[in-house]
Every structure is written in C-alpha cells, then in structure tokens.
C-alpha cells in the first residue's frame, strides 16, 4: 500500500496521477485536529447559540463546517488536474476523515470525563456533535464531514469564475450573518423597519434574508464582471476619470462623516476606538514600519499622554491645573516626546531583537509604577483619576455628545497624523529611516547618524501615541493603571504588522479588522488575542509585507522571481505596477 504511494522525484507527471495517499491523510488529520481544537477551545460550544441563519445554522456549527470545507477544498484542488470525479471524491474522503476525529472525541468523551481537563468538553458539546441523539449517533460528524467536504470538492472543480463567485457569496453570507443583528437595530427606527424585520433577525439572517444576500452577491458579481466598471474608468482619459473618482470620493467622505450619526452611539463608540487605534498604529508605523524598531512598550507613551491630560484637566483631588482638554493636549504630546527621548537615549544603540525586549521591560515598569503605592499620592494608584472633562462640553442630547465627538476628534487627528507621516516617509528623514531598517551598517556608512535618526523615529511614534492616550482619556472620562496593558502594545503591533509595515492604508485596514470587528462582536472578545496570534504567525509566514503593503516593502521582502510570479497571480499587483511606471 505505502510502496505504491511513494513519490519518485522527477516523475511529477506520473506522481500527480497517483492518489497521494499520504498528503491526503495529512490533510484529513489536519482537518480533524482543527475541528477538535475548535470544539475544545470553546468556539463551537460558545457560539452554538449565536445564529447565523435563524433556524438553519449557528455560528459554532458553521466554524466546523468551514474547517471541513476548507480541508475538503484543499484536497480536491490537489486532484483537480487528474479528474473531477476524483477531486470530489477526495474532498468527500478528507471531510470524512476529519469528521472521524470528532466521532472519536464523542466516543472518548462518553467513557472518560474530559471535562476534568477541558472545560468545554461539556454534554452540550457532545449533543451538538451528535445532533442531540447521544453516543449512538457518534457517526454523525463523519456524515457531515463527508457531505461538506464533498460539496467543497464540487466547488473546487467549478470553473474559476464560478468558483470565486460561490466563495465570495458564501463569504458575504457569513459577513451579513454576523452583522445582521447590528444592522437591524438602527434600521428598526427608520421606515425600513418592515423589510429589516423580514430579512434580519436579532442575531443572524432570516432564511429569506440569507437567500437574498447569497443571490444578491452573485448578481452584483455578475454585473460587475459583465460591465467591468474599474477597467472602463481606468481606460478613460485623466480628466474624465476625475468625473467618476471625484464624486465617489465625496460620497465616501460623506459616509465616513455621517456614519456615527446614522448608526447610533454604539457604532460611534466602536468607530471612535478604531480611529484611536489608527492613530496609535500610525505612530508605531513610523517606529516599526519605517525605522524597523520593534517597540513592545508602546503603551508607555500612551500612558504618559493619558495621565498628562488627566492630571492637567481633572477637577478632582489629583488635578494640577484644571486646563481644558485643548490646552492640555500639547503638553501630552510634548511630554510623550520627552519621555521617548528619555527612554530612547539609553536603549537605541542596542540591536533590534534586544530593543524589543527592552521596550517591553519599560512598558511593564511604567505599568507597575503607575499602579504602585509609591506614586499613589500623585497618580491615584489603582483607583485612577476620574471625572475628566470632555473636549467639547455639550448637553447630553446634543448631536455632538458622547462618543460621536471623540470619533470626529480622533478622525481629524488621524487625518493630520496620516498626512504628516506620509510627508515624513518621502522626506530625507523618512529615507534615512528606511535605510537603517534595511541595514544599519550600510546606512551609517552612507552618512546616516544612527542614534539621531532612530531617536527621531522613536520620538514621532511616542508623540502620536501620547496624542492617542490624550484622546482616549477624553473618550473614557477616566484613567486607571489597568488601562495600561501589554495587550495594548501587542494590539498596535498586530495592526501594523497585519496591515503592512510602513503602509498607511495598511494601518487603517489593520485597525478596522483587528479592532473594529472584535469591538462590534463583543462575544468574540475572549478569542480576540487567539486570532491575533494566528494572524501574526500567518502574516509572517505567508505574507510578511502585510495585507496592504507599501510598494517598497513588497519589493524588499520577495525575490525577483517571486515578484514575477506575483505579477501573474496577484490581482492587485499589476495595477499598482502600471500606475507606478506611468509618469
């Protein structure tokens, strides 16, 4: 059996027509391990009550189906070159193998009390896996796995155009299933309440809603493909192109500006936090993205900004000056900058990976000091500083009340900061930063003063973080030692890394995905950092330049051959390159 499956190097043609039993089994085992992991880590049982399509599928089950489908798809894609029937069969078999693992879990769980170790190995989980029928239905996951894997196999053998259409539509089904409840609430007070009730449930889509979303997406994709609006616009002469892009930009701006007013205060709060993290991300983008200094103690500057504003504006016992927010912000930025110099001077001469740990140490020192008895008299200790005034004092019914004004504030600052960092990147200083990121010795040889350059990057990053800290205090209205956490630094690192180091659009995307989504779906918050961990590893392994990379980073991180390959494969790359080469 094994002898027939051994692959002979150099015989790729004949090898690809064999069944690849080993890679096949490996994919199945991978699917099985992933699905058991999803069960035990709690994603399946915890989200078992969270409907995606009401009465049809819950999120927890969907997670398992996605896992089965993904491995089935992989296995089927492997066999597509051979024959379509075989590809579908491979998908089915791999799905079934994955399901077998869950069957095993149910059977083991019926004998051994797994709950003594794994909290989530509960009777509810087993009920979910056996369709509520008990151990006699332990075969049920195999059936589900085989069907899902087989369906994924069918999708895999579809022609490319149709395949991407189905996958995107499934993706949008998932997206709207998650968002349905959030969309429904604000819609209920509008004249659209009737259709909203019909299509959207309190959590998840209704069946008609799901059908509409799926086929709506299919229709949109079909129309876009047929009419090719993007190519047409790009083919237009420049003056005419502006006639299209101008109004589109104005529309986008209007949506961004009116968003919190239209969607209510919960969305305003979330989007204000996102804007705040964009600000932090843009700061770290200079330190990490441009100058290549991994700062794991970024929260220290945030803390300085936050506590400066708190101390200067608070009317309470710790308040020093009772300034307004606007008078205090410059101090916050200047202090954060000064603090960056103070921390930066000793540590910026040490090498990259040590620097990361040293900054982490600084962050922790600040966190402990702020909460300690030593500084309790001036910083309030664990009780923090309360009653910090809002930047714009208005009545609670005013449209600028609450998080809305913070959103506009953070947005305005983010735009300014984005502009500054964009201009900095192209400046002499920016080029020096990128030079030391690539090779310190060479940069020094070319006349870049390492310490000055690094210090300036560190200062700029610190200033932006101080600004973000100042705004966050205004948002929350208080500051505690517990709001200064290593997690915050890690959060910002994740935004910059996932979005693309050195890329400003990347930071915006990173903040939207990594902060916006978990803030919208509070029930996911327990799994937020789990997801960050996976994202950090996956980005580093598969796409070290990030999701929305700057052109320079892409060129640096891949060899010429890989780039040539990407030109063929990546849909975005050719456009960027033609744009770049056009004078």
């Amino acid at each position: 059996m094994t002898a027939s499956t051994i692959q002979v190097t150099g015989m790729t043609e004949s090898a690809s027509s064999s069944w690849h039993l080993r890679s096949f089994l490996r994919t199945g085992v991978l699917g099985g391990v992933i699905s058991i992991y999803l069960c035990l880590v709690g994603i399946v049982p915890v989200f078992a009550d969270r409907a995606l399509i009401v009465g049809v599928i819950e999120l927890g089950q969907a997670a398992l189906l996605i896992a089965f489908g993904a491995v089935g798809y992989l296995a089927a894609r492997d066999q597509v070159g051979v024959s379509r029937v075989r590809a579908v069969a491979a998908g089915t078999a791999v799905g079934a193998i994955s399901g077998t693992f869950l069957t095993g879990l149910v059977l083991v769980g019926s004998v051994v009390d797994l709950r003594a170790v794994f909290l989530n190995a509960s009777p509810e989980l087993y009920a979910l896996l056996t369709n509520g029928q008990g151990t006699s239905w332990a075969w049920f996951p195999i059936l589900v796995g085989a069907i899902t894997g087989g369906l994924a196999g069918v999708v895999a053998v579809l022609p490319a155009g149709l395949r991407s259409m189905v996958l995107v539509s499934l993706g949008s089904l998932l997206f709207f299933g998650l968002f349905a409840g959030l969309l429904r609430t604000p819609l209920l007070v509008t004249p659209l309440a009737g259709p909203a009730r019909f299509l959207l449930a309190a959590d998840g889509l209704t069946v008609p809603g799901a059908i509409l979303v799926f086929f709506g997406t299919v229709a949109i994709i079909a129309v876009v493909r047929r009419t090719k609006p993007r190519q047409r616009v790009n083919a237009l002469p420049k003056a005419q192109r502006r006639l299209v892009t101008g109004p589109a930009a104005i529309l986008l701006l209007a949506v961004i500006l009116l968003f919190p007013l239209a969607m209510g205060s919960f969305f305003a709060q979330v989007i204000a936090i996102v804007a705040l993290f964009i600000l932090l991300g843009l700061g770290l983008n200079i330190t990490l993205g441009l100058a290549g200094l991994l700062d794991l103690g970024f929260v220290a500057f945030y803390a300085v900004g936050a506590y400066t504003v708190a101390l200067l504006t608070s009317p309470g016992e710790f308040g020093l000056a009772q300034l307004t927010f606007w008078q205090a912000v410059p101090f916050a930025v200047i202090f954060a900058m000064g603090f960056a110099i103070f921390l930066g001077l000793p540590i910026l001469r040490i090498r990259g990976d040590y620097l990361a740990i040293a900054t982490l140490g600084f962050g922790e020192i600040i966190r402990i000091l702020v909460g300690s008895d030593l500084l309790k008299k001036s910083l309030g200790g664990p009780q923090g500083i309360l009653n910090i005034p809002k930047p714009i004092e208005v009545a609670t019914t005013h449209w600028l009340a609450g998080p809305t004004q913070i959103y506009y504030l953070a947005l305005a600052f983010a735009v300014v900061v984005a502009f500054v960092s964009w201009r900095l990147r192209g400046s002499r200083m920016g080029r020096s930063w990128m030079a030391i990121r690539e090779d310190e010795d060479v940069a020094e040889g070319m006349g870049v003063n390492l310490v000055q350059t690094k210090l300036l990057a560190y200062m700029m990053g610190g200033a932006f973080a101080g600004l973000a800290g100042a705004i966050s205090v205004a948002l929350i209205g208080s500051v505690f030692p517990t709001s200064i956490q290593l997690q915050l630094s890690i959060n910002v690192v994740a935004i910059v890394v996932v979005g693309g180091m050195g890329s400003i659009p990347g930071v915006v995307l990173g903040a939207l995905v990594l902060i916006g989504l978990p803030e919208l779906f509070r029930e996911f918050s327990d799994y937020r950092f789990l997801f960050y961990g996976i994202a950090l590893m996956a980005v580093m392994i598969y796409r070290p330049e990030g999701l929305l990379p700057s052109k320079i980073a892409t060129r640096e991180l891949h060899t010429a051959d890989e780039l040539a390959e990407m030109d063929d494969a990546d849909l975005l790359a050719p456009e960027e390159i033609t744009q770049g080469s056009a004078p």
Partner: protein, 358 residues
C-alpha cells in the same frame, strides 16, 4: 559642517546622559542599601530568609533561561513563546497531580510523594516538548532565513496563540496545585528558613541543569549543538545535521521549561493561563545577564536575577521610605533587564555562538 556639529553634540549629550544614568543607578543602590542597613529595619534572619526565597525562584528562572539561551545560541532568535511552553508544563503537571491525588499517591508517604512528583515532571516535560516541537515546526522553521524581526513577531504570535488556547481550554480561572503536606514543613537548613518544597526546587533544578551541562559539553549530540551554534555551514560540512541539532535544542529547552513549570506550581501553588509571560521575560533577562548562548551563564544569571528580584526591593528601596517595596519587585527585575541590555549586552560570562545570524 553644521550637521557634523549636531552629530557631535548628540554624541556628547548621549555620553553625559548615559553616565548620569549609571551614576543614578549606582547612587540608588549604594545609598539605598546603606540607608536600609543603617535603619535596622530588617534583622539578619530576615535577609537570610529573603536569600532563601531568591535562590528558589532564581533556580526556576535558571531552568527557563537555559531554553532561551540555547535557542538564541543556535538560531539567533528570541523564542518569545518559551514562557508559554513553561505554562504548558505547569498545567500538565497540575492535571497529573490532581489525578495522582485522587489515586492517593501524592500524599500517601514521602517516597510515593516523591515518585508522584517525578511522574508529574515527566508528564510536564513530555507535554512541553510536544508544544515546543509544534511551535518550532509551524511558526519558526519556515522563517529560519528571514530578517531578525520576522521570526520574533511570529514568536510573539505563537506566544499569544498558546496563552489564549490555554485560556480557551482551561478557562480564565486560577488553578491551585494540590498541597503536599510533607513539602510544606520547614527543612533543617540553618538560617535560610526554607521549606522542603524550596529545597526540592533547588536540588531538582540543579540536578537537571548539571545533567544538561554535562550533556552539552560531553555527549556527541551536545558537541553537535555547540558546533552548529558556532557555525552552521562548517558544521554541515563536517556531516552534522543542523536541523536535528536545532530540534534537539528545542527539545532540551522545552523539557527543562516543563519541569520548571511543575516546580513553580509546587512552590507557588498557583497556575493560570497567563503565568508564562513574566517569568519568561525574566528568564530571558537571566539568559542575557549570564551571556546569551552560554549554558553556565544562564544558570548563574537565573540565580543572580532571582536574588536581585527578591532581595533588591527591600535592600535598595525601603531605605528611601518607599511604601510596600515588594510591589516593585518586577520593576527591579525589568530595570535589571534594561541595564543589562544597555550596558552589558554580552553578559557576565560572555556570549557564545555565531556572531551573526546564519
């Protein structure tokens, strides 16, 4: 011309700053110690007790530090997830301990208690080794030739993943290790005022570290590891399988971290999903302190850091009238970290291993 003058000014400014920094630290240490000792706030017995505590925690740091130092020596990367490998070992030890407790083996007699602890350590080692192999395979191996920060970020990702996986598996609560009565009795050691569990921690860790030292220095595999740390290319030309040496390094480091997890659990009696991070960073400090890549240095660095962390706050800070100085023990440890990285990144005993990443 103008630029050059600016350069000179910054250089002088930095020199002045660094010397001030040094002077302040030395001043704090000397004056603080003098004030504390003169005030007579603590009796000699208190100091000895603190030293005993410092030795205990220091030998655990030393065990974790060995994993950092060996991996850094061979791959030039900070294995940021190593603290989580330690956490995994502590949990594995906990569940084994609960099982042994229910079977009555843990508390039946001293002999069966010790055997039970040995079993716990073995299980913890196995789990930690499994975790480390998985992490090495998925998160580190594909990035072996990438620029320095890339594997470090991936390692941070692995660390988060393991932490929150543990949180998902075991919940966010704190688990208490079953208490073993005979371990909590005071040991007949003059002055240091240690319990038997502390003695066990120190003895077990030094036995294991001694074994490791001999293994690295004497055995063929150990020689291979040292050769690969020195120069991967040349080692490969001599017929050494570099990949195998790297995997063995991870296995040894993880085994020690797993054992350290059990010892930590026995000594501090609490395990939780986030317990790996801070000891991990401190152990890294210990590794740098002793000279990264240097096995004997990591042991020395661990002990030294443990002592500084436990004795330091009382000795240096209480003289200045700082309220509740033990609150600041992590501040002392992390200040130590920054000081070592800034002033002596090559450590006390000197770095070992290749000068640049292979």
């Amino acid at each position: 011309m103008k630029v050059r003058r600016l350069d000179r000014i910054t250089d002088v400014a930095i020199d002045v700053f660094m010397w001030t920094f040094r002077a302040v630290i030395i001043l704090v240490v000397v004056v603080g110690s003098a004030l504390t000792l003169l005030s007579g706030k603590y009796t000699p017995a208190d100091w000895f007790q603190l030293i005993g505590k410092g030795l205990t925690v220091g030998s655990i740091y030393a065990m974790i530090a060995l994993g950092y130092t060996m991996v850094y020596g061979i791959l030039r990367m900070i294995n940021f997830a190593h603290g989580e490998i330690f956490m995994g070992g502590a949990f594995a030890g906990y569940f084994t301990a609960v099982a042994l407790m229910q079977a009555g083996a843990l508390t039946a007699s001293v002999a069966s208690g010790l055997i039970s602890i040995a079993i716990m350590i073995l299980v913890a080692m196995a789990v930690s080794v499994g975790l480390a192999l998985a992490v090495e395979r998925t998160a580190y191996r594909p990035l072996r030739n990438a620029p320095t920060l890339v594997p470090l970020i991936s390692a941070i990702g692995a660390s988060l993943f393991l932490q929150y996986t543990a949180r998902g598996f075991f919940g966010s609560g704190v688990y208490g290790y079953p208490s073993v009565p005979f371990l909590n009795e005071p040991a007949p050691i003059p002055l240091l005022n240690m319990r038997w569990v502390d003695v066990l921690v120190v003895v077990a860790s030094f036995t294991m570290m001694g074994g490791l030292y001999l293994f690295i220095m004497r055995s063929k595999v150990g020689t291979a590891i040292r050769a690969v740390s020195e120069d991967k290319g040349t080692a490969a030309l001599m017929g050494i399988d570099a990949n195998r040496a790297i995997v063995v390094t991870f296995v040894i480091g993880a085994a020690l971290a797993g054992a350290a997890g059990v010892l930590w659990g026995l000594s501090y009696t609490q395990v939780t999903w986030s317990m790996g991070l801070v000891p991990g960073i401190k152990a890294f400090t210990a590794a740098v302190l002793g000279g990264i890549g240097n096995v004997a240095g990591a042991m020395l660095g661990g002990l030294f850091l443990g002592l500084i962390e436990v004795v330091g706050p009382n000795l240096f800070l209480s003289g200045f009238g700082v309220p509740s100085p033990t609150q600041l023990k992590d501040v002392v440890a992390f200040t130590m970290l920054v000081l070592v990285l800034v002033f002596r990144p090559s450590g006390i005993l000197g770095e070992r291993g290749a000068r640049s990443r292979a």
